[in-house]
């Protein structure tokens, strides 16, 4: 007790510079963010905000932003759930490689995502796409990239890859023709390039990558023991997933969806390149800012920015609410 009292002043004093350092870093970073938002606020008057909200083009832009972000978030979660479950629960060769590929949309410059989509849809034919898929899948199967899945048949995955690769090869032979992917989708009534549908496609790669990350963390937090017990009670793996894991992953799915929604809200480069920035047609809030700056309306651009900041903060608070209360469960 006595020695504890003697040590007390020494416990506090050496910590002080370190704590001060932490506080300085906190103030520097948070201060920068607050200043950025503050600068926007100072540039904008109530009149500017009123003008922006009354503008028919901006109203359409807000509606299109909400619709496309919601669609992208839904598609992202639909893709993220099975993909993240696969990566979380199965051990197979090439998993690290697939993990890296899934991060590529996050790391790539956004313009390149848009440019790649533009080239894919306008310079590559469907049969070439099918041949590329068939080649990639057969290569993965033959090289034994994914060789053995724990808890499953040893040759199940390579066989499945070969089968799907074969389906793509047959499709490539059947499709033939020299038209681009865009011509085919347009023929089916689903034009993509410089069309509102293209906005969803442009937002999707990055949003889905974030959703996969979120869902992966969620599934990693759920003990595989639940599925094992469910399997001893008569579930097959699919039933264990739907009856036991999915109900536990509900909040994670909401978090993944809101994360994908927030990412889609800020997506600009791919949308600009692939869907364009046609006023009143393919204009979302991010492109609205760009268009307002282009016509020299800085207060208008700042007002739209403020609107986006408010939306982003609301979404982030939702994520914090769900993830902060246990995330997975």
């Amino acid at each position: 007790m006595e020695s504890g009292e003697n040590q007390r002043p020494w416990r506090v004093k050496p910590e002080l510079p370190f704590v001060l350092f932490l506080i300085v870093v906190l103030i520097a970073y948070v201060g920068m963010l607050v200043l950025m938002v503050g600068a926007n606020v100072l540039t904008v008057s109530w009149e500017d905000i009123g003008n922006v909200l009354r503008d028919a083009d901006i109203q359409r832009s807000i509606k299109l932003t909400i619709v496309t972000c919601t669609a992208t978030a839904i598609f992202s979660v639909l893709v993220a759930v099975p993909l993240a479950y696969l990566l979380s629960r199965y051990q197979f060769r090439g998993r690290a490689f697939i993990d890296t590929i899934l991060d590529i949309p996050i790391l790539l410059p956004p313009l390149i995502v848009g440019l790649s989509l533009l080239i894919l849809f306008n310079r590559v034919s469907p049969s070439t796409c099918c041949w590329m898929m068939a080649g990639g899948l057969c290569l993965a199967a033959c090289v034994g990239c994914i060789w053995r899945v724990k808890g499953s048949g040893r040759s199940m995955i390579p066989r499945a890859l070969l089968f799907i690769g074969g389906v793509f090869a047959v499709a490539a032979v059947l499709i033939r023709g020299s038209g681009s992917l865009e011509e085919v989708t347009s023929g089916l009534g689903l034009p993509m390039t410089f069309h509102p549908l293209g906005i969803v496609l442009a937002q999707f790669p990055v949003a889905a990558a974030f959703a996969v990350r979120t869902m992966r963390t969620t599934f990693d937090q759920i003990s595989p023991r639940y599925e094992e017990v469910a399997m001893t009670l008569g579930c097959h793996r699919g039933q264990a997933f739907t009856r036991v894991v999915l109900p536990l992953a509900g909040k994670g799915m909401v978090a993944a969806g809101t994360m994908a929604w927030a990412r889609s809200l800020g997506e600009f480069g791919p949308v600009l390149i692939f869907a364009g920035a046609t006023r009143g047609r393919t204009e979302v809030l991010a492109t609205s800012v760009f268009l307002e700056i282009n016509i020299g309306n800085l207060p208008g651009a700042a007002a739209i920015s403020l609107l986006m900041i408010l939306l982003a903060v609301a979404i982030l608070m939702l994520v914090r609410f769900f993830v902060g209360r246990g995330g997975a469960i």
Partner: protein, 207 residues
């Protein structure tokens, strides 16, 4: 009843080699051994949870080779170390989980679940979620869930770990009574000699 013949299982970097074990019908065997000797691996292999890791050997249950059967077809009840009650299901839903999957008749399922609830003293807890249960109650629910399908073998993997002494003895007593009442063959993994002597007809030491 259960016969494990020259079983070799690999899980990650761990390998259980050429292990054999025989348990008679209605017998309760306690499996003891130092940490890392492969008790849980053996139990998981018997339950069919590590079938991809079985390198050689066979597992027979009631004379039937179950080595390659999926876990759900083995009719083995498992109470894992971490209990693993499904967090979103009430006690009633936990007990009904297996019978519902096996499409039991509604009346038969109700009788079975109410019988188990009565035997395990769970009547007042049926609508509670796992987060509202004490350690001893959670173990009784896990035992009921494992027994609901009337399994041929009951596997208990250090199911009493983490309980204080009073709860430990109470749950141990419940397990012993249920094994006798159900007439089920049991394999009980434990570190405690006292627990093994109290519950088992025979003690097998691994490693």
């Amino acid at each position: 009843m259960l016969e494990v013949k020259d079983l070799t299982v690999r899980v990650g970097g761990f390998k259980l080699s050429d292990f054999s074990l025989s348990i008679d019908e209605g017998e309760c065997v306690a499996l003891m051994g130092p940490s890392g000797c492969g008790k849980t691996t053996l139990m998981e292999a018997v339950c069919g949870l590590r079938s991809g890791g079985v390198l050689s050997g066979r597992i027979f249950l009631g004379g039937v080779d179950i080595t390659n059967l999926p876990p759900g077809a083995r009719m083995i009840g498992l109470v894992p170390q971490d209990i693993a009650l499904f967090p979103t299901l009430t006690v009633r839903e936990q007990l009904e989980f297996g019978p519902k999957l096996h499409r039991w008749d509604r009346d038969e399922m109700r009788d079975r679940v109410e019988g188990l609830a009565s035997d395990l003293g769970l009547e007042q807890l049926m609508e509670r979620l796992p987060k509202g249960l004490s350690g001893g109650e959670a173990r009784r629910v896990a035992l009921g869930r494992a027994l609901a399908l009337r399994p041929r073998l009951l596997c208990l993997d250090e199911a009493l770990t983490g309980l204080d002494e009073a709860r430990h003895d109470e749950v141990l007593q419940v397990i012993r009574e249920m094994i006798e009442r159900e007439g089920v063959t049991a394999l009980h993994v434990t570190h405690s000699r006292r627990e093994a002597d109290a519950i088992a007809d025979r003690v097998v030491v691994m490693g």
